[in-house]
Amino acid sequence: MGLVRRLILIAFILAAGSTSKILFAEPASLDSWKIGNIPQDEKISTDPWAKIFDSVHGFIEAAYGPKFSGDKLTQKNDYNLLEQRLQLKVAYRPQKPAWLASWNPEFFYKGDLLTDEYKETVRYQIREAYGLVSPLSWMDVKLGRQILTWGTGDYLFINDVFPKDYESFFIGRDDEYLKAPSDAGKFSVFSRLVSMDVVVIPSFTPDVSISRGDRLSFYDIFLGRIAGKESSLIFTEPAFQPKNTEIATRLYRNFGEYETDLYAFKGFFNQPRGIKNESTQDVFYPKRAVFGASIRGPAPSVGGIASGEVGYSDSLQDRSGKNRLIENSAMEYLLGYERDFQKDWRMGMQYLVEQMLNFDEFKANSQPGDIPRDEFRQLLTFRITKLFWRQTLEASLFTFYSPTDSDAYLRPRFTWQASDHWKLTAGGNIFFGKYDWTEFGQLKDNDNLYLRVRYTF
């Protein structure tokens, strides 16, 4: 069956690829070509179907990520990434009816068809499906499934409370897949004084957690050791009810060349940071609020871009910190700096401090077997990037290092843009850790190398 399925998908992909190629062979019948009285040699197509299909883009990709230190704990021992993916996206901007057209509407759809050899499934995931309108000149409304991002961190998030897919991140999928979509309404108002986004998320979406154990081995708190598929956590998500609607807001404006933001959020932890029942290994997503601020702009005198972000994470179901089964409140501080150098070199660094609040209560209530924690967890990141071959080859290394957790995570990567359509990516995910229970230490048996081949159209 597996072979048949694969053949069907390949046929589908080839068909999709060749169709789009034909359609793209004739450049768009864009009105812009008529501007400026410059004679154009392109043919003007009036076929409405050509117009629609011309706005279809996407890619096909094959990815393989062998593990080089298999721990025999997960579903497959030799690799944690083996898949083929077809992504298609299309935008539509209706010109009728007139009342809608005056709102400058845009409908966007992006979906992924994934043949996942690791999980032995074929999945279809809608990445984005939204309508975007401007009912007033100073207002945008975006409704539907969308990717949401704000904040200043590079792979680190304080006030960006939107769902992440860390599984994708750790096995070597494209960076795009670190962000998981939300079903939400985003209401934005713009003014010279201050602009505002209000995001309403009626149905909670958790992070794609690593603690499912089927693809990545991790530290199972109930077993007290690194575990994989034998882990049997039960995840309880907040019910789909009006009172569980999440709300995230951002106020922002620029002062000269500096961007400043204020953030507020009320909803849930995106990770199962609460234990409902220890004996049944039932974990849940506790309520929380986050209040924060950030600033970003040029670093004085030395050049480059500097940023700072803070956040207060209010653990609403354990504000005193006395309940050892629920994550405490915390303060988070992030400093970032990035700049470029001659010959296409670029470097970035970040320093993150997570301060657990009510640490005395945490210590007083801890029981044997609980994961030991620091009051101040520190994390450093370094990014170094260099471009070669007329910028068609990018070599980069992103490193996480925590001096307090004594763990580290290395992400080396080479990306070669072989042509305007073909891209080859090779990289690795390498984890180090002194202890089994730290963020990166628990992943140390999931080291992999990966290779991705992508054709974009």
Binding site: I38, E106, G303
Partner: protein
Amino acid sequence: MKYLGFGLVFASLLSVSGMELGSAYAANSGEGSTVMKEMLLAYYYPQKDAQSDVFMRIVNRQGQSRERRLAMLRLDKTDGGEQFYYIYFHEPADVQGMSFLVLKHPGRDDDRWLYIPSIDLVKRIATSDKRTSFAGSDFTYEDVSGRDLDEDEHELLGEEALGEYSTFLVKSTPKRSGDVEFSYRKLWIDKTTHLPVKVEHYDLKGTLYKVYETRQVQSIEGTPTITKAAMKDIGSGHETEITIKAITYDVGLTPDLFQERLLRRAPSQWIRR
């Protein structure tokens, strides 16, 4: 983060041209500087604003080509001074939908942002080095955006007929020779339009290694505009041609358009996709 590499390159596209034209000029008077200043204004500041569709083809010695297609909005706050730029990428497909915002300030670093739609990320970027390749092409940032007038000594060598053009010939020598890979440039500047017709780059040994040439000039709404230009690397045979497919001047852009909103939502009235 391939996107970023690509974006960074575009980021610096127009980073220099507006910098301190006025003050730089005052410190560097003379006929050569006058001609150069007129060139910078004619090339980078025509009319108040502009909307254009740009096509770029990069060809190597084997004839293999890469193509970039982008839409650009420009608004001048003052002639020779502050400028706003917005760039939207149509092709290659890999970066389709990416956009880029530049606020150019005389006297201090430009503000630059890149938007990556697939992760809804507005990224602030810094670009210090302006002598690297522009989007993998044979143009450097400075070739594309204009080099700061005050970076060089400009000497008017004379007048020369070049094809159909009657030109001024200017030799520009960097004041700080260690900063750049050329020892001097020779520029042929059209007397009538003040646009560059040809630029020769000489390396540190004094050998010609790179040539810019204007291939087409058209009068767009009465404004002489370079609609096709090329840069050729003589050693490698590598060549890049930039074509302005369409351009309209004075379309009515306003400064409040050039905000974060523009990045997250491409303006359909200006950018046809």
